[in-house]
């Protein structure tokens, strides 16, 4: 099964992430965001754990990706693997990765946007669409 794909957008990065569960879709969205910054493989050296809340799935996604961007910008954290638990609109993430300074970062993601964002749950499958401002 495809985990994520990038779609055309004139200026920004637009992706769709897929999964069997909402958790998988959130994990794959995080990987899609970091993969758009650099396709190089990161050597694992850092672990982070965080919680975010939302008022619906979309705001949970927004806050979740923004938290990862915050770690990237302030702690040079570059994601490799992530485990997520979602309960209602609360999320706990355990992520491992490395120092972004070890990589060539090709694309600067400025922010997560709500533009054209959706998260759809169907039977046994879930899909999310996100546009990142670059």
């Amino acid at each position: 099964m495809k985990t994520y794909e990038y779609l055309e957008h004139t200026a920004d990065i637009k992706f769709r992430a897929y999964g069997k569960t909402v958790e998988q879709v959130f994990s794959n969205s995080a990987l899609a965001m970091f993969n758009s910054m650099s396709e190089e493989k990161i050597k694992e050296s850092k672990k982070i754990k965080f919680r975010v809340k939302g008022s619906d799935l979309e705001s949970l996604m927004y806050n979740f990706l923004e938290e990862l961007l915050f770690y990237f910008e302030t702690k040079n954290f570059f994601l490799n693997k992530i485990k997520i638990k979602i309960n209602g609109f609360n999320l706990i993430a355990e992520a491992s990765g490395g120092n972004s300074k070890d990589l060539v970062i090709d694309t600067h993601i400025k922010a997560v946007t709500y533009h054209e964002m959706f998260i759809k749950r169907q039977k046994n499958k879930c899909v999310a669409q996100v546009v990142l401002d670059v």
């Binding site: 200026a11 090709d106 400025k110 054209e116």
Partner: protein, 478 residues
């Protein structure tokens, strides 16, 4: 309404209108040539311009300029003015990179001086000024100093010795928006900003050493003190992570306060200008704008240092510094009855373009109109223009901000070869430094509209007058 077939009517040369339908409160205007209009129609720009026309308190038109392309919520190259009583302010109408802006410097060097030491100049500037993602600033900033910068912008760091008075006098808002209130900026935003003062960033941000290739108006050029073959330096960057976080923070806060159910696009979230949240956003946005002004001021200081090492007699002055992503309170004669009315103008990927006589324009340029700096895409020409009174009537004193993209990155990577981009710059005699080869593809000239065409439209329309064309000798990209 958004599934309805969109009627775009050509009113006259370079002017198109989408009439008011559905819940649009005003018509939409697009200022573009036929050729550019074809490009604009290919993405969702027009839908976005229509969406903006539905927002409360919008005045006259929702506007897209000749460099317009799809953004998030509001389009890029978009302008919208709102009534101070009934209107709204929207972080998405300003953009995440608050006060992403362009500064133009003039030097007392000529093209020949640079050509003799082209590679050295490139290396020295690249070494000193951090560019790209994650290259932090060598500038040691404490929280206390950061708060002062948010309040006083480039004025503060000039007081500390990183520049001269004329630098801030020749900056929009004199380098400090007075409404700034650092208590409205989150700790999270401060944390993102503290290590980034004096950094270029990545993407479309750049520093270029250019020369004056052609003068269009000798009288105007004389006021600027520029002549053919004179070396100029252009810096394009913004408020970095600090501004991005301010936008995100207020988008979230406005959603919590007002909900987004009635919006055509969730990214159009807004608050009434008069509300507490609206005012708080404006104060925080002003802080981010001031950070961006200071950011370019510090880069200017370092450029002077580096150039002085190579050319001990070099002298570098700030010509002007214009905002791209910003909301401003400005006065206009909206009904043509001589009465001035204050409105809140959103410019997202647009430049202010005031005509002669406005008090906001520095004394040096007040008689000729506000300087307008239009960067081209990598390796192509840039322009120095001035604003006009007609722009104040037509576009709320606004014009284009650059070439504007036409191609997404997917298509760019499929169709553009990085070696050819490099070869092309080589052929033009341009020295290039970039931290990432992907940036070269994503920022290749083919990805953008033709800058000459965009500038032709705004000068034919009469919202700008051409002063000079600049061509690059050295390009530094993130």
């Amino acid at each position: 309404m958004f599934n309805m077939k969109m009627e775009v009517k050509k009113i006259k040369e370079n002017v198109y209108e989408i009439e008011r339908v559905g819940n649009m409160r005003v018509p939409a205007r697009i200022y573009a040539s036929e050729k550019i209009m074809e490009a604009i129609k290919k993405d969702k720009t027009l839908t976005q311009v229509k969406n903006v026309a539905t927002l409360p308190g919008i005045i006259k038109h929702s506007i897209a300029l000749a460099d317009a392309h799809q953004g998030y919520g509001f389009s890029i190259g978009g302008v919208a003015a709102f009534d101070m009583e009934r209107g709204i302010i929207s972080p998405g109408g300003v953009g995440y990179d608050i006060n992403c802006s362009v500064r133009l410097l003039k030097t007392n060097l000529t093209k020949k001086d640079i050509l003799e030491k082209q590679k050295l100049v490139n290396e020295e500037i690249y070494r000193k000024i951090p560019s790209g993602v994650g290259r932090g600033s060598p500038f040691n900033l404490t929280k206390d100093r950061l708060l002062k910068i948010l309040k006083e912008g480039s004025k503060y760091i000039i007081k500390e010795g990183y520049g001269v008075k004329d630098d801030y006098l020749h900056t929009e808002d004199e380098g400090a928006m007075p409404e700034a209130d650092p208590s409205k900026v989150s700790t999270r935003a401060l944390k993102r900003g503290i290590g980034q003062l004096g950094t270029l960033g990545a993407g479309n941000h750049f520093l270029e050493v250019q020369f004056i290739d052609e003068i269009y108006d000798e009288k105007l050029a004389k006021v600027f003190g520029i002549k053919k073959d004179q070396v100029m330096i252009m810096i394009h960057c913004g408020s970095r992570g600090l501004g991005h976080q301010v936008a995100s923070d207020y988008i979230k806060a406005m959603e919590e306060e007002y909900g987004y159910e009635n919006l055509a696009d969730r990214e159009l979230i807004n608050a009434p200008i008069k509300s507490k949240l609206g005012k708080d956003y404006f104060s925080a946005m002003s802080c981010a704008a001031n950070f961006a002004f200071a950011n370019k001021q510090l880069i200017t200081h370092w450029v002077r240092d580096q150039m002085n090492r190579i050319y001990p007699k070099s002298k570098i002055d700030v010509v002007y510094d214009v905002c791209h992503n910003i909301a401003k309170f400005e006065e206009y004669d909206i009904n043509g009855d001589g009465k001035k009315k204050k409105v809140c103008v959103h410019r997202k990927g647009a430049t202010r373009s005031f005509g002669p006589g406005r008090k906001e324009v520095p004394e040096k340029y007040r008689k000729i109109g506000q300087p307008v700096i239009i960067p081209g895409s990598m390796g192509t020409a840039s322009y120095l223009l001035v604003g006009t009174t007609l722009a104040e009537n037509l576009t709320f004193g606004s014009t284009v901000h650059g070439a504007g993209r036409v191609m997404g990155r997917g298509q760019a990577f499929r169709t553009i070869n990085k070696d050819e981009v490099k070869k092309d710059l080589d052929k033009k005699g341009i020295s290039l430094k970039s931290g990432s080869y992907k940036t070269l593809i994503d920022e290749a000239p083919q990805v953008y509209k033709n800058i000459n065409e965009v500038v032709r439209v705004v000068s034919e329309l009469g919202i700008n007058k051409k002063v000079a064309r600049l061509k690059p000798l050295i390009v530094i990209k993130g």
